[in-house]
Symmetry: C2
Subunit: 270 residues, 2 copies
């Protein structure tokens, strides 16, 4: 099954547009995990097991593992998701971007080493920096378009001849780079008007929307701006608000409650 | 010593603007390294030891290690450079770019885990995605500006109101983001006219110039376009042409000959 097919099935079977971001920060782990050699894996796997029936995807962020020499735990975590919760796509949030020969190595890292179903990629270096990812025809390639952070406007909001740079990225993605139906876009929840513009430009292309929860994006505005004509098409990411909902031994149950409520809040407006 | 100071000293002491890129591809290793558990380290360390007196910097590319689960060998390689060849700055070529909380993790990965002196960063997400790197005041932050690949023009060459996007990046780098004197720019050797434009915009800011050698950039045009008023200011990168100059047991000696000749070819036009 391709990433796009897995995602469509997960949306339907779990009635959920929620993506849980796995950004493990050991400073915020519950005390009973302190000092465990595999604390990153145990923390994230507990979150995964507690929320898997509520989500359309999981999105581990590789920096949180790499900063702590925990690549092996990231591999184990993705294998755990595939083994225990088959059918839920895993997005490796890595935001890579490099020339073709190096991008081949990054694609190999994401899809062969980590067995991710999709990877986030930065479009600044253009089409040939994307080709090595697109060569994995069953995998998803999720391009940064309009990011949720304040500095996103420094370049992405520049006018490039009647449209903004992020709109140009959306148009290139829809018209040139998606011949195989495997491209998606990142559009931040902090800018609902821009989610709506991107949606009009890209038809039913799936959008990964970070920025609700800790970053302050509004769920109602995001859903109304971003859903496709079928009331779907979104992976609405929440990381910190779910991961750190509780700080005790019952952290996974607390995460489940927030994930449940977030899914419901999203579904209210579809 | 800061990255900028190390670089200035290395330029002078070694009379060299040459940066050797360490992109280890096991398919191209000499036969006697096949099957070694630490082939990535041994290959790169041999290149380093054979060329250290000829270069102003080394630039390991993390993707080549990460695709093969060789992060430990990358750590060992950078430690080897610091221990055996003190004073030569190490640039971790990673091209990261993410929101602040994640960028903190990437900065920690580059500067604390790997002990790099500088890291390459993608500017697409704007100022707050750079802040966590800039917070390491003694480290270099090398922003993608005008990349050497064909697709670089897709976005970087767009007109954003009287200047191209890459020129806006150069201007933001020079006027807003470099308050601590630690920012550098990547400008590809395949576009000498654009190197010259960037040089005029950024004064003496160091430029990392990939694209000579295997990618076809012209050394004379690069040096004439890119040197600052003192005949310096460049890190001219060559990777494959040096690393794979020889394929036998004498590969390091072959690499040294090409590095020697490349340094001389560069110095001819300063």
């Amino acid at each position: 099954m391709t990433f796009t097919q897995m995602l469509a099935a997960a949306w339907q079977q779990r009635d959920s547009l929620l993506c849980v971001g796995l950004d493990p920060d050991p400073a915020k782990f519950p005390a009973h995990l302190a000092g465990c050699d595999d604390a990153f894996f145990r923390f994230c796997a507990a979150i995964v097991d507690a929320t898997a029936d509520l989500v359309c995807s999981f999105k581990p962020q590789i920096a949180y593992f790499a900063a702590h020499r925990a690549e092996d735990q990231l591999e184990a975590l993705i294998a755990h998701i595939h083994d225990r919760h088959p059918g839920i796509p895993v997005i490796l949030d890595a935001k890579r971007g490099d020339i073709g020969s190096t991008a081949e190595q990054y694609a190999r890292e994401a899809f062969e080493r980590y067995r991710a179903d999709a990877v986030t990629v930065n479009p600044y270096m253009g089409h040939d920096s994307l080709t090595p990812y697109l060569a994995y025809a069953d995998k998803g390639v999720i391009l940064l378009c309009r990011t949720s952070n304040p500095g996103g406007s420094d370049l992405q909001f520049l006018d490039v001849g009647g449209e903004k740079l992020y709109e140009r990225v959306a148009r290139l993605a829809a018209e040139k780079w998606n011949s195989n139906g495997q491209v998606c876009l990142v559009v931040g929840a902090t800018f609902p008007a821009e989610i709506a513009r991107v949606r009009r430009m890209v038809g039913a292309m799936p959008l990964l929307v970070p920025g609700i929860g800790a970053q302050g994006g509004d769920i109602e505005a995001t859903v109304k701006a971003g859903c496709d004509t079928q009331g779907g098409g979104l992976m609405i990411n929440s990381s910190r608000a779910i991961l750190y909902a509780g700080r005790g031994e019952d952290f996974a149950a607390a995460a489940r409650r927030v994930a449940h409520d977030t899914r419901a809040a999203i579904n209210l407006f579809r």
